[in-house]
């Protein structure tokens, strides 16, 4: 039952073994997941698309044995498992946790921003009371704090090893941990050939969860999707991570290959009309866009029906489910009506920007949009922007008049999504949208618990405004596709990276 090797292919390249480091890319987050432990983790539930999924609503212990939260919600006390050890055999102590958290809030960049989302901002909030007791003090209570401790960022590092390799210029041992992880997690990296492969070997002393079934995991980087497909189909590898929708649809129909397509929680592919661009300041024009979009055709050609439709929903908002279907659907007549009613009845020209790095779904979508918008007098030229430029243009400078975008929030609450995507000036609000009511609604809702009486009405109001103002026109909720051949146990995670711990050989 335990032992053996599994080979996984992925198209992404891992560029660092340390998530906190500046420049570490998304694919590398898996190292933080597989090699390090956090205090807590999310539970597991059955996923809608088959297989398993993390469960946002259940927090389970990982390194922490138990925790208590003070009544005012400002103090959290964690007891660390007494049998937890790092790979070098040393016991995991609260000092390690404090050092690791200090590092996360001090490193700057993404880890610091993510910690801040849970109200964790400064080292003085963390205290190692004794070897096994760790205390967090918050400035204000937030429902996001505990879940934020379960994301990959606040992972716990063997601080003794790290400090031994720190230098004056590099107090956080960034250079060292970049190449050599030092943790207590389920797997250790035994080999990392950059640009080629990462080899994990199981840590038999792991106490963070059930012992993984595979002893060795090889993650190979194969950039060409066609090659990846051939490999999984022929059974030369057991798992292909993050496969294109088309392959997912076709492999699903095939014997021997299992495909899991999990709609990504809190993530929506949208079309964003930029409010800096004059015609899009006109609500009629935005609505005309929303009615002109050939949703179904896009969903079928760009996503091959993988994921969930985000159009044609009820006009009346009765619950706080998110992502949710917008009340719009393809209706050219209505689109033309709105166009006619706008002050741009004779149409206009606008570039439609897509990212080169995300061309696999953006390009077919853009082509269909281009055709459809032509029908209502909006002429578009498709502009492909290289990966490096995309972030700057779309998110930082927010200068793209009309573009596709796909923000997904790690913390699965609608207000968290709105915080990033609808608040003015925030990174993913690439439409330059500003609505005073949304601003106050988000601020007052973000940290209150979900069972707070103000929560549901606030959320519903946000939805109403969002669908009326349409700074982001939802297209569909994407799915993360994974193909397995002769392996099982796949679990979906919001961070969309590979968790190799629960994988097992196929039971059949």
């Amino acid at each position: 039952q335990t032992g053996g090797t599994i080979v996984i292919v992925s198209g992404q390249t891992i560029n660092s073994l340390d998530l906190h480091r500046t420049g570490t890319n998304r694919a590398s987050y898996q190292v933080a997941v597989n090699c390090y432990d956090r205090l807590v983790s999310f539970g597991t539930k059955d996923a809608p698309g088959g297989g398993l999924s993390y469960d946002y609503d259940t927090i389970v212990p990982e390194l922490a044995e138990s925790w208590t939260i003070s009544d005012d919600g400002l103090t959290m006390t964690f007891k660390i498992k007494s049998d937890a050890t790092f790979w070098d055999g040393r016991k995991v102590t609260a000092a390690d946790v404090k050092w690791s958290f200090d590092r996360a809030v001090s490193a700057g960049g993404f880890p610091t921003v993510q910690m801040k989302a849970g109200g964790l901002e400064r080292p003085d909030q963390f205290e190692a009371v004794d070897d096994e007791t760790f205390v967090i003090t918050l400035d204000k209570p937030s429902k996001l704090t505990l879940p934020d401790l379960a994301v990959p960022v606040p992972f716990i590092i063997n601080s003794e090893v790290a400090k031994a390799n720190a230098t004056e210029d590099d107090p956080w041992a960034m250079e060292y941990l970049h190449m050599t992880p030092a943790g207590s997690g389920a797997f250790q990296v035994v080999r990392w050939d950059q640009g080629q492969q990462l080899v994990y070997e199981r840590n038999d002393a792991w106490v963070g969860g059930p012992l993984p079934s595979f002893e060795r995991v090889i993650v190979r980087e194969v950039p060409s999707p066609a090659t990846r497909r051939a490999l999984i189909e022929r059974g030369d590898v057991q798992m292909s991570f993050n496969i294109p929708n088309k392959d997912a649809a076709e492999l699903d129909a095939m014997d021997g290959v299992d495909v899991y397509s999990t709609p990504i929680e809190n993530c929506i592919h949208c079309l964003c009309p930029n409010f800096n661009f004059e015609p899009f300041q006109d609500a009629n024009v935005r609505k005309a866009l929303a009615y002109a979009i050939p949703y179904e055709a896009i969903f079928q050609t760009a996503a091959y029906g993988r994921g969930a439709p985000m159009w044609g929903g009820e006009a009346e908002i009765t619950d706080t489910a998110w992502p949710r279907k917008s009340p719009y659907m393809t209706d050219l007549a209505k689109a033309k009506e709105h166009m006619a009613a706008s002050s741009f009845a004779s149409g206009f020209e606008v570039p439609l920007s897509i990212s080169l790095g995300l061309a696999d779904w953006m390009e077919p979508t853009a082509l269909l949009l281009q055709e459809a918008f032509g029908e209502i007098g909006i002429k578009t030229q498709i502009e492909k922007i290289p990966g490096a430029n995309w972030r700057t243009a779309a998110l930082v400078e927010k200068r793209l008049p009309l573009h596709l975008e796909n923000f997904g929030g790690w913390l699965n609450t609608p207000d968290y999504y709105f915080f990033w995507a609808y608040k003015h000036g925030h990174l993913f609000n690439s439409s330059n949208y500003l609505n005073e009511e949304i601003e106050t609604l988000v601020d007052s809702t973000l940290h209150i618990p979900m069972d707070d009486p103000a929560y549901a009405p606030n959320i519903k109001r946000m939805f109403e405004i969002a669908f009326e103002d349409l700074p982001r026109i939802p297209l569909w909720q994407p799915a993360l596709n994974v193909a397995m051949n002769d392996a099982a146990g796949y679990e979906f995670w919001f961070h969309r990276q590979l968790d190799v711990r629960p994988l097992t050989t196929a039971t059949s």
Binding site: S224, A226, R229, P294, L356
Partner: protein, 296 residues
């Protein structure tokens, strides 16, 4: 006058003397050249009349008929958006030929000017130019093209410029060598005695003589230019969608081969290959046509 009567029995103009007659002769002489010119004519036809003749709008999508295999309706099948591959392949001819011809013309002109100057006057000009060319050549050429397109943005013009830049050294070198061996030739000296300035001697007398070997280079480069554009498309730096272009079609279609939709890549690939093939084979024929010595 015995020497003349002996060697020129008839003084009337023969068929081979006219330019057209000469071309016909060159074509007949070599079956491969004949084939190449026939294919060239075909591609030119596609470029001029293709858009008017194709059965479908190359840009019109039809989600209901996406990814259909070749049939009577769609000779080359349809792509993932239901567009007719045949129409796209034919319509793309014009753009692809434009890219390659424009790029080659540009590098031909610039390379010729630089090469002529260096070859004729020599000295420090020559040395400086050689170092510049060496510098360009020291880049892996495809990577240089990638860099230029990445820096300037991936429009058709920039692809043409990038392709032209990487081809300039070939022309400059070739012309330099050809001009250099002729700069002290008798006919260049004679032209100077006849009152031609250096520039005129170079432009009117010496340079045209380097055309025959250039033609071979031109034909090779026309092919490379298309391949280069295709490679850029594969990296994602090709022309913007939805413009049909062979390279993009092959590059995108390549991902569909393994899943069985071979027609997406194979037909544009075949077309591209045929075009490059045609250009490559054209070289010898073109050279023979511009070479007066091949006239009889």
């Amino acid at each position: 006058m015995a020497d003349m009567t002996a060697s020129t029995p008839d003084t009337t103009r023969r068929k081979g003397d006219t330019t057209l007659g000469h071309i016909v002769y060159v074509l007949r002489d070599n079956p491969v050249t004949m084939l190449a010119f026939a294919m060239l004519a075909f591609f030119l036809g596609c470029a001029f009349f293709g858009p008017a003749l194709v059965p479908y709008d190359p840009l019109a999508t039809n989600a209901a008929r996406a990814l259909e295999a070749p049939s009577w309706d769609h000779w080359f099948g349809t792509d993932n958006l239901g567009r007719d591959v045949f129409s796209r392949v034919i319509v793309a001819t014009r753009l692809d030929l434009t890219i390659s011809v424009a790029a080659v013309a540009l590098s031909f002109v610039i390379g010729s000017i630089l090469g002529s100057i260096a070859g004729y006057w020599g000295g420090w000009l020559d040395a400086a130019l050689n170092r510049c060319l060496d510098t360009i050549m020291a880049f892996p050429l495809f990577v240089l093209a990638m860099g230029v397109v990445a820096a300037l943005g991936n429009t058709v013009e920039n692809i043409i410029y990038a392709t032209a830049i990487i081809n300039i050294p070939f022309y400059a070198r070739l012309v330099r060598a050809e001009v250099n061996i002729r700069r002290h030739s008798g006919f260049a000296q004679a032209a100077k005695l006849a009152g031609n300035s250096d520039l005129r001697v170079l432009a009117v007398h010496i340079f045209p003589n380097s055309l025959p070997p250039m033609m071979v280079q031109v034909s090779l480069n026309l092919g490379w230019a298309i391949l280069n554009a295709a490679g850029l498309s594969f990296i994602g730096l090709g022309v913007a969608p939805p413009t049909p272009e062979w390279g993009i079609m092959v590059a995108e279609g390549a991902n569909f081969i393994v899943s069985g939709e071979w027609w997406l890549a194979v037909f544009p690939g075949l077309w591209l290959m045929l075009a490059v093939f045609t250009f490559n084979l054209l070289g010898d024929g073109l050279r023979d046509i511009v070479d007066p010595r091949k006239r009889t």
